[in-house]
Symmetry: C2
């Protein structure tokens, strides 16, 4: 049920002066589109009795897609895709200078900042002036426009902080975006909306949505709504005005005047055989009127731009100038930038927890790990930036550890530990292992280091304990003549008499079918829970675009050729490994599909580490490989996933709360929407959505490895398990090796040469996650503290508010002054203001501004509080 609401009285003044909002009651018929002069002033006038069509001149610049970031920036390999962002920015600035009524929005700060640093002081001053006048405005303002489907919330916050900080440092509040702008992500997560609200955005525009959803919204005039994006956060903290763009993010048909388009320019000369001005103006008026019918106010938006457009901005602006001039001879068409609150003119609210969020959220209980800390800024879809051999954060970590530990040794970050290659540990007789733990609590961790240059890469396994926000150093020395006790996997065929195949630790027991080698049962020993669960690998035959389905399966589209997947193998050859520290069943399904099912000592979940690939396609069939868990649970399609690794959402298969789903695609229920259970794919054809190539790697193909962690628990207590484990997985310990390590005499672990170090004087309570602790400037740290439990999620007290004393929390520094900011730290929280909305449930009480006392920082469930802390560093002991 959706209402149209007036703005609250105490905002009416602000709205009048800042937004010049024009409301019209629904369903009043649309007034005639009519005359409106575009003024020279920076703020286009809005005409109350007319349909106001906001033409938004914009470009969408993927920070890596078919080309690398550098190639996009400079315009290299234009034969692959014509795109050169340096020219776009040159060109837009030039065109804005030609004509003061022209306006433009820019989005991707990764590109903008690079361009900025190549400009002369004079050009920078000109651009500052354009920003000051509101003719060049920034929307979104993140380093990139991040994906929403599989991105961890921590990475989202980091990349938004990076981009918005550049804008704040460069342009001050003039450059501060007022709206979020996610025009290209495929599916939209509730968590993303919640984060945007907490970042201080007044509104959120997105482009892509399910066509059935869009049709319903158009019919019901629900293209614009306020999204209540959190079940835990107190309204209006996570309320966000959200608008669906009418044409994804493209210009209307026939009105694309970019160098990449072939639409006819406006020809005003009546003597020319190509004269078309009258026809185009009439077409535009019809279009605008029809589009306006889907909106409740007399405002609507047209996105005049698209992928890497405006490289020759003059073409666009010339024709926009003409269009505006011609239409305004009869009607109104302001060219708009989005950020100004003056254009946020869409005022109603529906209570829609979860609505509009049938996207592609990641699966719980564990977030998919798609946000490696090494590249927080490069989260665009299908980014092609080559991975640097040694990334910046690793270098920083090594340096920091060297400084903290006082070591003068060169630290080595063995990135390839997971593929069992580490030259240092495989050749040195003595070396140090430093383990860093970024969490606010001590961890017990099973350290693993590859040793000896053996063909099967033997691993040294040892239990390590690392203090909160600190590190432990272990020395490893090889004792001449002795070799470590090696546990080799036992092929099961050597023990044909055994009818039991199982692994077990203090908490969990997993049983396998001795005939097929498949997992068949999992038991929580603590809670005395037993669940039959069968796990195996399956593959879908990928559609190649034939009479079964014209849609090819490819980079964008998962489209199996048949409903049911086939098993990769009905049975696995198994080997069993049992040591005091770990028990493993090694399953070999085929030459290209294997898995280790593992239980470490003390661990409360079952770990399934799969290795899949290269997928054979010699039979001419593209393949989509999934890991499938079959249980006897009767869920009636109901299940729960996290959203970007944070709040949990209830979901139901083949159901949408706001419309009757018409499921048209051939598919099996299994993999959808838990996309992290699709482990690999290799396809023979391009799906025609833009990449222009099949997902078919060169040569023999590639293999992938990943882990699925499975907890078996009761609803009441499950949150404790998955929240805390997820935290450990996302911020797992970092291992750094260094040569040397003293005159070691033992083959086994030497005692630490340096005392362990912890950055905290006491551990954080389990409900508090130390989300960010980073240097901001010379004397300031950026600190984010998060309550990582939702309201009612834990039956114990982990879902309760928690209060911290920051005064003496940190061991390396003392906080001398604390300021609270918005989530992205570009504004002080106290002075940040957002447009407010009145829901149909009644006015939202204004939060009372709380005084900030470092000694009593209270976190509500799911709350993230962001601080800039001036600090006094302790002398290093």
């Amino acid at each position: 049920k959706v209402w149209l609401c007036e703005a609250e009285p105490h905002f009416s003044e602000a709205l009048t002066s800042r937004s010049r909002l024009i409301l019209r009651p629904h369903p009043k018929p649309l007034p005639q589109v009519c005359v409106f002069g575009v003024p020279v002033q920076t703020c286009p006038m809005v005409h109350p009795d007319m349909l106001n069509v906001h033409l938004v001149a914009h470009t969408h610049d993927d920070v890596g897609w078919l080309k690398t970031v550098d190639q996009y920036f400079y315009g290299i390999h234009n034969d692959v895709q014509h795109a050169g962002v340096q020219y776009i920015l040159d060109s837009v600035i030039s065109s804005l200078l030609v004509e003061p009524t022209r306006r433009f929005i820019y989005v991707e700060i990764a590109f903008f900042s690079r361009w900025w640093h190549q400009q002369t002081n004079a050009t920078q001053e000109v651009v500052r002036d354009l920003v000051r006048q509101g003719r060049l405005e920034f929307a979104n303002g993140g380093w990139v426009m991040n994906d929403e489907a599989a991105t961890h919330y921590g990475a989202i916050i980091d990349q938004m902080t990076l981009g918005l900080r550049f804008l704040e440092d460069t342009f001050g509040k003039d450059g501060r975006p007022r709206v979020a702008w996610h025009i290209d992500p495929f599916g939209h997560s509730r968590e993303q909306a919640s984060l945007f609200a907490q970042m201080g955005f007044d509104g959120f525009f997105f482009g892509r949505l399910d066509y059935q959803d869009k049709r319903v919204r158009e019919e019901k005039l629900e293209m614009e709504q306020v999204w209540r994006a959190s079940a835990s956060l107190k309204p209006p903290v996570a309320d966000l005005f959200t608008s669906v763009l009418p044409n994804i993010y493209n210009p209307p048909e026939k009105l694309c005047w970019d160098t990449l388009c072939a639409d006819k320019p406006i020809v005003e000369d009546r003597r020319s055989p190509e004269y078309n001005a009258e026809e185009l103006v009439n077409y535009f008026l019809q279009l605008a009127t029809a589009q306006g019918q889907h909106f409740r106010t007399n405002h609507t938006i047209m996105t005049m731009g698209s992928d890497f457009q405006y490289e020759n901005a003059n073409m666009w602006f010339r024709n926009l100038d003409r269009l505006i001039q011609l239409v305004n001879a009869q009607v109104i068409v302001p060219i708009s930038n989005l950020n100004s609150t003056r254009n946020l003119n869409f005022l109603w609210l529906c209570n829609l927890t979860g609505s509009g969020n049938q996207g592609s959220d990641t699966f719980g209980p564990f977030p998919s790990e798609t946000s490696p800390p090494e590249a927080p800024g490069w989260l665009s879809h299908l980014s092609s930036r080559p991975t640097p051999s040694r990334s910046l954060p690793q270098v920083l970590l090594s340096n920091a550890l060297a400084r903290l530990s006082g070591s003068k040794e060169d630290f080595t970050y063995c990135r390839n530990l997971n593929v069992s290659v580490c030259p240092l540990s495989q050749t040195a007789k003595n070396f140090q292992v430093t383990i860093y733990n970024p969490l606010g609590r001590k961890i017990d961790w099973m350290g693993g280091v590859v040793m000896l240059p053996s063909s099967d890469g033997q691993e040294l396994l040892f239990p390590a304990s690392v203090p909160a926000l600190g590190f432990s150093i272990y020395s490893v020395s090889q004792v001449p003549g002795q070799r470590p006790h090696a546990h080799k996997p036992q092929p099961r065929s050597q023990r044909p008499w055994s009818r039991v195949l199982a692994i077990q630790n203090e908490h969990i027991r997993a049983r396998f079918d001795p005939d097929t080698g498949l997992l068949v049962e999992m038991e929580n020993l603590d809670q005395n829970l037993l669940l039959p669960v069968r796990q195996a690998f399956y593959w879908y035959n990928a559609s190649v675009g034939n009479n079964l389905s014209t849609q090819v399966s490819g980079a964008y589209i998962f489209r199996p050729n048949q409903e049911k997947p086939l098993m990769v193998s009905r049975w696995a050859q198994t080997r069993l490994v049992k040591t005091p520290l770990v028990q493993e069943v090694h399953q070999n399904f085929s030459a290209w599909c294997s898995q280790v099912v593992r239980l470490y000592r003390g661990q409360r979940h079952l770990e399934l580490e799969w290795t899949v690939g290269p997928i054979p396609v010699g039979d001419g069939w593209g393949k989509e490989i999934i890991s499938r868990f079959d249980t006897v649970l009767e869920t009636k399609g109901l299940f729960y996933t996290d959203s970007n690794g944070r709040e949990i959402l209830e979901r139901r298969r083949d159901y949408r709360p706001t419309w009757k789903l018409n499921q048209t695609e051939t598919r099996d229920p299994s993999p959808c929407p838990v996309d992290s259970l699709q482990v690999h794919r290799r396809l023979l054809k391009d799906d025609g959505r833009g990449v222009g190539e099949a997902l078919l790697e060169d040569g023999l193909g590639r293999w992938g490895r990943g882990r699925h962690l499975v907890l078996l628990d009761k609803v009441r207590t499950a949150a404790t398990g998955h929240r805390l484990q997820a935290e450990k997985e996302v911020l797992a310990p970092q291992v750094v090796l260094a040569p040397g390590g003293g005159p070691g005499t033992a083959l086994f672990l030497a005692p630490p040469r340096f005392p362990q170090f912890s950055g905290l004087r006491r551990e954080l309570p389990p409900s508090v996650h130390l989300l960010t602790l980073a240097r901001w400037d010379q004397k300031t740290l950026l600190l984010r503290l998060e309550h990582q439990f939702a309201v009612g999620e834990d039956s114990g007290n982990l879902s309760s508010p928690v209060t911290l004393d920051l005064g003496d929390l940190f061991s390396a520094f003392t906080i001398t002054y604390l300021q609270e900011t918005t989530l992205v730290a570009n504004q002080l929280r106290a002075s940040a203001s957002r447009l407010k909305w009145t829901p149909n449930t009644g006015p939202t009480p204004l939060p009372s501004p709380s005084r900030l006392d470092p000694a009593t920082i209270t976190l509500q469930p799911m709350e993230i509080r962001t601080f800039l802390a001036s600090v006094q560093w302790e002398e290093h002991g």
Copy 2:
């Protein structure tokens, strides 16, 4: 033999100050390419001890090719070809403003003038300033860049006058081009060079030439020469410095930075994986050094641009800026405009009458008629501008005649007379026929008007006499009950007993083989000359790109599949028409190939009017149709053609005076190089040179009609015949019809109702051609008088100088003041100066400036004199 010459002493001062010319003796080794600062001043410095590489930023904008002129201008149908000239000019101006060292040349005034008229006063002022500073310069400056192969000299002069006048009116002498710029025409005619010299150009740059010619020029350092382009005009009147561009007109490989190219931009950031600045600079230096080896001075040119480039000029200029900056850190690369004489630095001469002129000149003794007076400005190759139904010149002519004759009737210009359609004459009972004669001498002409709506379009034929530069009006009335005497062709088969098939008049007799129907003999009765000559139609099987030849025959390339052509038919069905006014043999070769061989009364040439098409291609073979004349003359390959309808050139088959021709193409000698004997073609495949389609008309195909006129004469007296007949053909009478015509009582011609009118008080002597008489402005006329005989061409006195008295020549006005100008009337002749060159034959004496006396205007053989005449109009009698 080619020498390097110093400039003449009295020009050295001018050269030093204006050109800053740097000479270096040949074959001094090239100095190192070296440092050179590009100054902010408008004139780039030239460094005497360095290789000066002149980077010329330019765009080549066909005034009609794959798209129409309007489509090119506005950027419509960019899917056919991406090109929008309005954006090019917008963009170049913007980019020039950004950075004062940037320079650009523009060429096609048809586009520029249209753009200019759409600009605001402010933009026009900015552009004027750029032109004043020399940052925007014009080269060539014609309305279009005309073809050289088949264009009549009159049309060339007209279109150049039109473009240059716009520049003169708009920019004064700042906008006056100093160099001609024919970068795209295929083959270069001597006459074009002669005309350019007479237009006052200091130099001529061209792009396309035979690859063998180019190789020889590069080896012999003859890329630059002075072309002595007339055998008649006294040097240095037709001497023209001529430079071959090193890379047609394109940028060097890898250095194309247009939006239409995919070359890598310069990346200076050493941290980028795409860093390439050092590599590109080294590549450029190698390239420049290698190219410099082919030039005698230490100057060389690089054309930085191509077809419709600079639509996003920023891309080009950004990278040119970087290149210049980087190279000048080591070396010298000025960015240049061409017109400034400062860049005309190539100083030697060879005596090369005819050399370098093995292009595709039109055939004599008659010029091919490719320059209809209705569209002098639109002479670009393959222009796609749709023919307007009624063109401007026709309207003007009708209006002028109406005014002169005092008639109030609507004049009708029957454009389609040649296809026997004229609604007025076919339906009206009475009508007037007005015949306008633009020549300076009276003509006797055989008037033809289609009459009656009969299926075979009967023609009324009558001998008309029209005074010099005037008109005669005839009234035609149908007498009820009477019908005109109709002469129907007689099928020869009706007279099988006759063994003689011939036509004859007072001067000529043509005999046909009674069995085959083919022309076999021609006789000049006056001179008692008889020549066996056999004429028939042949076709070449067009190459489709197979193992016989990989090159397809198409729009650009004539490439037969076999050496010998096949006859369309070995015999023709014939009919004979004999009347007092005309005798005709109608030959029917096939359903799609016919011809009328005709002798009008009093005519001194044989006329062959062919009708060919639609060419059948149902057999899968593309066809090239030629008309072939076989004679017994032993010419040893020597023959003579005109050049653009003006001076005559001796030619020799398969021979080039400056290099040994290596003839590699499969072809028959017959049609080459007399291209006007190729009458039609229909081809099935594209030849891959740009048009992207086969020469294959839609539907059933098209037919064409044309005439070949053949004179048989002795060398001594031939010129009189072909010069005077050519003049009549090019400026043939214009026929205008009007309804009414008085109470006619006769079926036959009524006496003129109005007196005949002549614009001249006396006829011009036969050697003088009235080339131009046109309104220039309110009180001024443009007058061009031409001596149309070459030195020694006529054995009588027609090749002698001739003197005219203009004082009382014209009947409609009196000349009150006369100024002589250059050929294109943009400068007074007395004050126009060109760079002078010293040939190896010794210094050229300076022409003494002659005083201008309207009473004694002397024309030397082949001289064209151009005047602006202030006139006093006579009261109309």
